[in-house]
């Protein structure tokens, strides 16, 4: 059984920790977190996560730019990206999807069901171990 690797990109340390604990409720999830888009590009290429959870508003490189850069690199282009953001108005969600995101999870999230929500966005190959 392979682990499901989740990369979280968020500049808020507290949110990183809460997401870490929330996703830790699912024993198959292995999580790493990055505090910036630039870090995320390196980690994603090295670690090949099953899915990336990406914040939108981050200093220096925001979520959409990070996504565009991930898509440019052949090693990370295929990794599904889900935005985890407080900006979830209808037009904003449409915009994220048009950028190539798999989906959007809104902040604040329910920590007890976050893992299940993330699972919904996993590609079939990674999710087949789902209980």
């Amino acid at each position: 059984m392979t682990d499901i690797r989740i990369l979280l990109v968020d500049d808020e340390p507290d949110i990183r920790e809460v997401v870490d604990v929330s996703l830790g409720l699912d024993p198959e999830f292995k999580m790493r977190a990055c505090a910036s888009g630039a870090d995320a590009l390196v980690t994603a290429a090295e670690w090949s996560p099953s899915i990336i959870l990406l914040d939108v508003m981050m200093p220096l490189m925001d979520g959409p730019t990070t996504l565009a850069n991930l898509r440019k690199n052949p090693r990370t282009a295929h990794i599904p990206v889900v935005f985890l953001t407080a900006r979830t108005q209808t037009d904003e969600i449409e915009q994220y999807i048009s950028l190539g995101a798999q989906g959007v999870l809104s902040k604040p999230f329910n920590p007890m069901t976050l893992a299940a929500s993330v699972r919904d966005y996993l590609p079939a190959s990674a999710a087949r171990h789902a209980p």
Partner: protein
């Protein structure tokens, strides 16, 4: 604001420093302080403020405050360095300079006015007043204004709402919709306070009466309107940013508390669990509050997109009751659904309607005594579906009734804390129901409690609007695929005036059904439809033989999405118009295409001996069949052909010789489809559109190819003509 007499100390001072009184604005900040704004003669971009301080200099502090107030309200950093003092009998004058906030910022005015005399008058007024660097562009109808706004930079709109193609509030609404970010000033001869008020609610910044305003007042009004619009935008952005910024810490708080409450960090001792439960509930409430504020803000700014579709009220109410079951149990309240099981469908946005029902339900539950019942009922009327929610609470206090749909309104200030509400629920309900073209209200229930009701347009009623029954019977019939009823009704009204009948389809499925039931001269497709995108609808329409070459025009609210895909596709879309629709262009397109269609069936010159082919082709066009080159030459003299179908192996003379002669009366090349045993050597000729081998091609696929060629030729011709 007060005018100062010529003898006041500021004016004396200004004269002494050689200034000219040009644009005085006076603010009375305190009884003994007057702030006085004036242009600096040396630098016309500098707006100076003079503060007159009477009595004593201890008011200096006030003066500085006054400067700051003026500067901030002008959106400029104020410059303390240019302070000057003027000893005067009455007190002293302090001067501060603020960079101009005035007509300098207003470079381009769009004047929408159909009265030529008024236009001339305004131009003269502006010219006489030296507003030379302000350009005034004039248009005489709304569609021209909408067109202008798409491609030109405009700073402010000056609108007379009595136009040939838009009147009254409708005109204001359209101008606001065409440029929601621009300040809009109404200039009208209609002196009516209630209309003025509504105009401001529809998005205008000011309502001025012709003949009552002179040029200085007008210019000032334009500046102030610009300023008010800027502040309004700042406020919107502020609210939106703050709400989002609040969510970030809230995410950590409610997330951590949620994890603790879910025993993710082990089980909690009882007293601790109780305190954490309080924190958790309240963090949830804060989240709801932030969401509600954002919702209402967006709704008021008209930024919420409603996706209308056919919605069954009953299943939706059942869903809302189900979702509120836990909440009701918390208050020990039962919720019961009454009313006939018959379908009561309305036209609404299901998510927004669910929000309405949920808000009404949770209100009723909150204000019900324990062990009582909330009754939801659905009744179907002729045009409307009525939904009522009855509680057995203490009723709504009389003095609170007029305020009930206001923001943050709660009958008892203590209620908010006690009931966990935000005071925004009913205000949101009202906003949504208004947008759904419905009505919301409340009455006292017999035997105590309150009944809230929502009335929404019945689906059948809206569906009955879909067919244009009022148009003339001989009018060319169009199909408009648009899910926004208001937009559709407006467009129908406009199109009717130029002689078209317009039927509506509210969804892609609707459109196909309608297109099959009747033959339309042209189809307008909104690219965003509730049950799919416009492009796939066009694909489906093109698959219907009778719509193979019907003109289709795309109307889109989003200039970018899908346009290139559609251009490169073979769907033969006549044109792509962005919203707001350039009505003149639309009419031009429609008139040409309908005229061409009505004029005649396509004509095909068929050079062959095969009667089966001729018969098949005559299904889609008038066919002239000839057996020889000579006959073909004769036929060419009888009239123009849209296409020629050739068999090159024709015995008498080689028909390739005919190719250069295949031209219509205007000298245009007639495209050719070769249907022959051997024509491959012609495939490279530009005139030859397709080469089909008789041995490999069925007559059906020949007909399909010919139809395709005719359609693309027709579209190209339209494009050339237009």
């Amino acid at each position: 604001m007060r005018k100062l007499g010529a003898g006041n100390p500021i004016n004396r001072f200004v004269r002494r420093i050689g200034g000219a009184r040009r644009w005085p604005c006076i603010w009375a900040i305190a009884p003994s302080i007057l702030t006085y704004g004036i242009w600096c003669p040396a630098d016309p971009t500098l707006f100076q403020y003079y503060v007159l301080i009477r009595h004593c200099c201890c008011f200096r502090r006030w003066a500085i405050k006054a400067f700051r107030y003026c500067a901030v309200s002008a959106g400029r950093a104020w410059n303390r360095n240019v302070h000057r003092r003027l000893p005067a009998d009455e007190g002293q004058v302090i001067v501060a300079g603020v960079k101009q906030m005035s007509t300098k910022l207003i470079k381009a005015i769009l004047l929408i006015e159909d009265n030529v005399g008024d236009v001339r008058l305004l131009r003269e007024m502006f010219k006489d007043h030296g507003a030379h660097d302000t350009e005034m562009v004039h248009v005489d109808c709304m569609s021209a204004a909408e067109k202008h706004l798409v491609s030109h930079s405009v700073d402010i709109i000056l609108l007379d709402p009595g136009l040939p193609d838009a009147q009254g509030l409708g005109a204001i609404r359209r101008a606001h919709a065409a440029a929601p970010r621009l300040p809009l000033v109404v200039l009208t001869s209609l002196d009516d306070e209630s209309i003025a008020e509504q105009a401001l609610q529809e998005g205008a910044q000011d309502y001025l009466i012709k003949g009552q305003i002179e040029v200085r007042g007008l210019l000032r009004a334009l500046r102030y309107a610009t300023e008010r619009k800027r502040l309004e935008r700042l406020k919107d952005e502020f609210v939106s940013t703050v709400s989002h910024e609040l969510r970030t810490p809230l995410t950590s708080i409610s997330g951590s508390l949620g994890l603790l409450m879910g025993n993710a960090a082990g089980s909690l001792p009882k007293p601790m669990a109780r305190l954490l439960a309080i924190a958790h509930t309240n963090s949830q409430r804060l989240v709801r509050l932030v969401n509600d504020i954002l919702d209402i803000e967006k709704m008021q700014a008209g930024r919420v997109v409603f996706n209308f579709s056919r919605v069954g009220v009953r299943p939706l109410v059942v869903q809302a009751i189900e979702a509120n079951r836990g909440f009701a149990e918390g208050y020990r309240v039962r919720v019961r659904l009454e009313g006939a099981r018959a379908a009561a469908d309305v036209r609404a946005d299901p998510d927004r309607l669910l929000q309405v029902v949920t808000n009404l339900l949770s209100n009723a539950i909150k204000f019900s005594p324990a062990d009582s019942e909330v009754v939801v009922a659905i009744e179907k009327g002729a045009d409307m579906v009525r939904l009522t929610v009855r509680d057995h609470g203490s009723g709504i206090p009389i003095d609170f009734r007029p305020l009930i749909f206001e923001k943050f309104a709660q009958a008892d200030a203590g209620d908010a804390r006690q009931k966990g509400g935000t005071g925004l629920g009913l205000s949101i309900v009202k906003q949504i129901v208004d947008r759904l073209r419905g009505e919301v209200g409340f009455t006292d229930a017999p035997g105590g409690g309150t009944i809230f009701h929502v009335q929404l347009p019945c689906w059948d009623h809206v569906a009955s609007l879909a067919l244009d029954r009022d148009a003339k019977s001989d009018a060319a019939r169009l199909l408009l695929c648009e899910d926004d009823l208001d937009t559709a009704l407006t467009l129908r009204e406009q199109l009717r005036q130029v002689g078209f009948a317009t039927d509506f389809a509210y969804s892609a499925g609707d459109a196909v059904t309608r297109a099959v039931a009747a033959q339309y001269h042209a189809i307008l497709v909104d690219i965003h439809l509730p049950d799919g995108d416009g492009v796939s609808l066009i694909v489906r329409l093109r698959a219907l033989p009778q719509y193979h070459d019907t003109p289709i025009i795309v109307v889109s609210g989003d200039p970018n999405s899908g346009r290139d895909d559609l251009r490169s596709s073979k769907l033969n879309v006549l044109d792509w118009l962005n919203k707001p629709v350039d009505f003149d262009r639309l009419v031009q397109l429609l008139a040409k295409s309908v005229a061409q269609q009505a004029s005649r069936r396509p004509r095909i010159l068929h050079v062959d001996e095969d009667n089966a082919v001729a018969r098949a082709l005559s299904e889609i066009a008038d066919v002239v069949t000839v057996n020889s080159i000579e006959e073909a030459r004769l036929a060419l003299k009888t009239g123009d052909f849209d296409l020629a179908v050739l068999d090159v192996a024709l015995a008498k003379g080689a028909s390739p010789d005919l190719l250069p002669e295949l031209r219509d009366s205007k000298g245009n090349v007639i495209p050719v489809v070769v249907f022959s045993a051997n024509g491959a050597n012609l495939a490279s000729d530009a005139q030859v559109q397709a080469v089909l081998a008789k041995s490999h091609t069925s007559i059906d696929s020949l007909v399909a190819t010919v139809r395709d060629r005719l359609a693309s030729r027709r579209t190209n011709l339209f494009k050339e003509v237009v």
